[in-house]
Symmetry: C2
Subunit: 118 residues, 2 copies
Amino acid sequence: MFARTPTPPYWAVIFSSQRSAVEQGYADMGERMVELAAEQPGFLGVESVRDADGFGITVSYWDSEAAIAAWKANSEHQLAQRQGFAQWYAGFELRVAEVGRVHSWRKPQAGTDAAGQG
Amino acid sequence: MFARTPTPPYWAVIFSSQRSAVEQGYADMGERMVELAAEQPGFLGVESVRDADGFGITVSYWDSEAAIAAWKANSEHQLAQRQGFAQWYAGFELRVAEVGRVHSWRKPQAGTDAAGQG
């Protein structure tokens, strides 16, 4: 679920969206877009969540702005063959941002604490 | 649900998290954190979603890095009084990023299309 991203700086595409009522073709498109992203040079990972009301946030991570531009060109070509990306959404915001700092935390596993217990 | 953010540049804090099993105090803490953010100078808005498996992404938007730093200091003070933020999470990634470009789209409403129908 968490993307395994390198030490910053790197780039993020924050895609916030509200789904439309159109189901036909959505799952297929979503799968293809993730496959396509993962094949692109410079792709670092993706985190994605959507709630029961159809609001979702997907953040994809990239090693450069050039990688994002190449992915955009490639995905738009694919989407053009699918008769309009917009049909699946009531609205979206797509923000391109440069990640400068990260703070990561994971709960210590039982048996790996300092006291060696578990 | 969508944050009404201004023309870039501005800043984003991308908080990706997996919840722990601890429910006690979580909803109260979450509400208080959102209130606290909204009171901070430089707060621009927030978008948040969590799925049924407890994985969530919250993106808050800020007009400067200084505003994020002030919010961090303030929220950590508050959280210190709540005996540990980490209890509510199995893990998280917090990324600070500068938003440089945005593409917004909303489905046209019936009656507001170019032909004036509806």
